[in-house]
Amino acid sequence: MHEDAGRAMVTEISTSLTAPDRHMRLLIIEDDRESADYLVKAFREVGHIADLAGDGEEGLSLAETGDYDVLVVDRMLPKRDGLSVIGSLREKGNRTPVLILSALGQVDDRIKGLRAGGDDYLPKPYAFAELLARVEVLSRRHGGPAEETTYRVGDLELDRLSHRVARGKDELTLQPREFRLLEYLMKHAGQVVTRTMLLENVWDYHFDPQTNVIDVHISRLRSKIDKGFERPLLHTIRGAGYMIRDGIR
């Protein structure tokens, strides 16, 4: 089963994610030229538009004037600290989702960053796949529809109020945590969610397990929702994470 899903490669996912209606406009505020250029290039390759600001002042003025879907802000910037840029934007009523990048990847720093008005926090060094997944989730959260009570992917259906899950005509029995895991995946259907995102959002832990503990949970969930069905819905995205998606769009 792992092997099946493993064939879904990053490139395939990148193209599938970049259907014309999914173009994002991003602003990257990062002073390290090399990593900034890498980010701009990588985002462009998967079809997003990324602008670049080299310091806090420039970043603030661009963020205020441009219409961006997500801002990616480094914490330590020349001229103006990343947190102060976010604070100043929020003060002026700018609600654009912000992802904070920081070399200070510790719990306290993350909390500080989120308190300052950031929406997500990613410590350096990070994998681009992780950043991409998080940015896409952020942009969806911003512009997406109001919280639905029922999620549907293919013939899989999850009712958030009655906690009922059904695939086709079959009723599925899930453990509470499996339900929350599936709920999170289905909320972000068609988007890559990484293992770290799952650990953070489903279990509320912010550390790196040294083992493949999330994979085991996923494989349990998979055996419940995909086993015995012709078309798998829960896909493993190699080098990135997981995605729930109906094979045919």
Partner: protein, 488 residues
């Protein structure tokens, strides 16, 4: 700086100078007071004597007239060591007495005055000073009685001389003592400076000389030595860690590089490249995890995380971790059970969760029973394939323990196992950074507790023992009646 320059800059010497000045001032004021009082006493004595004689002689004059007066005066003036006497006519002519000359105007004044004078029989031209009283008798005659002030001057001279000598003695002794003390201190300080300079130059084994007197310098030296001891231990630890980092990070880095090189050299298909790159990413993820764990340990050890502590029940943490790892344990052919009792703590929930997660991961990885050992009875409580997470309060401590029934860690290796990057031989082949127990131990230390490794016969019990929240039971009890109030 010259040796003398160094000497006079010492605190001991400067203190000596200050004391010297103080003592000199004290001696001077003491002698001054003494001199002034003596002078007053002598003056008083003179006035009393002169006054008595004056009334006596005035009496004689009243009874026996001028003749009697002159006779008495002449008589008295001839006595050895006599006072000064002079009788003048209304026109100012001297008619009796032993005074040859006086400062002008003395005879014209009334009452007490100090004056220069010369005796009649004196040959030398030197003036003396005297304290005299002049009064007009009836009929315009004037009488002077006075006393020489030589005595007073001599006494004053003695005092001044004494003052000079004592000052000299004070200065000489003080300076000598100061130099002696300063040199002694300086010698010891120089010895200390020499040692510290050697230490700064890199020889961490150097220690300061400690004398036997147990004085403040000895105590300072002892404390500095203890500090050096600690620094040396820390430096050694740091060196060991950096050696380990060099080894444990260099190995995967080298592997990474070799793999990339190999992929480049072989002109393989796209799929080959892809799999090589994927493995590269996996390896670098492992490296990043190792770095993160190191940073986490460093942060826990430096105490930075103290700012982010709150109150919670460690039993919740135990249940949460059990829930997270239970499927993983099952996949490895084990069961993960949790047993909890209220365990209130004040701490960093995130770090404690991670520490416990590390212990559980270790138990899953290394806690499989050896095939040679007969299981305690599968299926029964405490079966050989069972890992037990336990949270409870034990007196002043909260215990978060993970027990497995694997091979355990031999007693001799236990303290070693907590060290960074140490992976006991049995675990070398397993994936892992070798930082799990180090982090758990650092987290326990951060909370003022410790990580205990014990034997579970067979197997390992790793326990995080951290202080329970003070007064937690009271607070829990107090919370219950709050609820209806909030509703109302």
């Amino acid at each position: 700086m010259t040796a003398f320059g160094k000497l006079i800059r010492t605190t001991a010497f400067r203190l000596t100078l200050v004391y010297l000045l103080l003592f000199a001032l004290f001696a001077a004021s003491l002698l001054g007071y003494f001199a002034w009082n003596t002078r007053r006493l002598i003056t008083e004595q003179i006035t009393t004597t002169v006054n008595a004689e004056f009334s006596e002689i005035t009496d004689i004059y009243t009874r026996r007239g001028l003749r009697g007066l002159v006779f008495t005066i002449e008589n008295r003036a001839l006595r050895p060591g006599a006072n000064l006497y002079l009788v003048t006519t209304p026109t100012g002519q001297a008619i009796a007495g032993n005074v040859g000359s006086l400062a002008p105007g003395v005879m014209a004044s009334q009452g007490w005055s100090e004056t220069a004078y010369r005796r009649l029989d004196e040959q030398s031209s030197r003036d003396h000073r005297a304290l005299v009283r002049v009064n007009e008798l009836e009929s315009g005659f004037r009488l002077l009685i006075g006393r020489d002030l030589e005595e007073r001057r001599r006494l004053f001279g003695i005092v001044v001389k004494a003052a000079n000598w004592s000052l000299l003695v004070v200065v000489v002794l003080g300076l000598g003592g100061g130099i002696f003390v300063a040199r002694r201190v300086l010698r010891r300080i120089d010895a200390m400076t020499g040692t510290t300079q050697r230490i700064m130059a890199g020889d961490l084994t150097g220690r300061l000389p400690v004398g036997r007197s147990g004085d403040e310098l000895d105590r300072l030296a002892e404390n500095l030595n203890a500090m050096l001891e600690r620094i040396e231990a820390l430096m050694m630890g740091l060196k060991e860690v950096s050696d380990n980092i060099a080894h444990d990070l260099k190995t995967p880095l080298t592997r990474l590089r070799n793999r990339a090189e190999e992929a480049l050299a072989k002109s393989g298909s796209e799929a080959d490249y892809r799999s090589a790159l994927e493995r590269t990413i996996e390896e670098s993820d492992g490296l990043i995890r190792t770095f993160n764990a190191l940073l986490m340990i460093a942060r826990a050890e430096s105490g930075q995380a103290r700012g982010n502590m709150d109150d919670f029940d460690a039993a919740d943490v135990a249940r949460g971790i059990q829930e997270l790892y239970e499927p993983l344990a099952e996949d490895s052919g084990m069961t993960l059970r949790v047993k909890t009792a209220p365990a209130p703590v004040h701490g960093n929930r995130e770090l404690i969760s991670q520490a416990l997660a590390n212990l559980v991961e270790n138990a899953i990885k290394y806690g499989k029973p050896l095939p040679s050992i007969q299981p305690l009875g599968d299926g029964a409580v405490g079966g050989a394939h069972e890992i037990l997470i336990e949270a409870r309060r034990d007196g002043p401590s909260v215990l978060l323990g993970v027990t497995d029934h694997g091979p355990g860690i031999p007693e001799a290796d236990r303290s070693h196992a907590v060290e960074r990057f140490v992976r006991l031989e049995a675990s070398r082949t397993q994936p892992g950074s070798g930082l799990g127990l180090s982090l758990a131990s650092a987290v326990a230390t951060l909370h003022g507790g410790e990580l205990r490794l014990g034997d579970s016969n067979p197997g390992l019990t790793a326990t995080l023992a951290i202080p329970a929240r003070a007064g937690a039971s009271d607070r829990l009890a107090a919370q219950t009646p709050d609820v209806p109030q909030k509703v109302a």
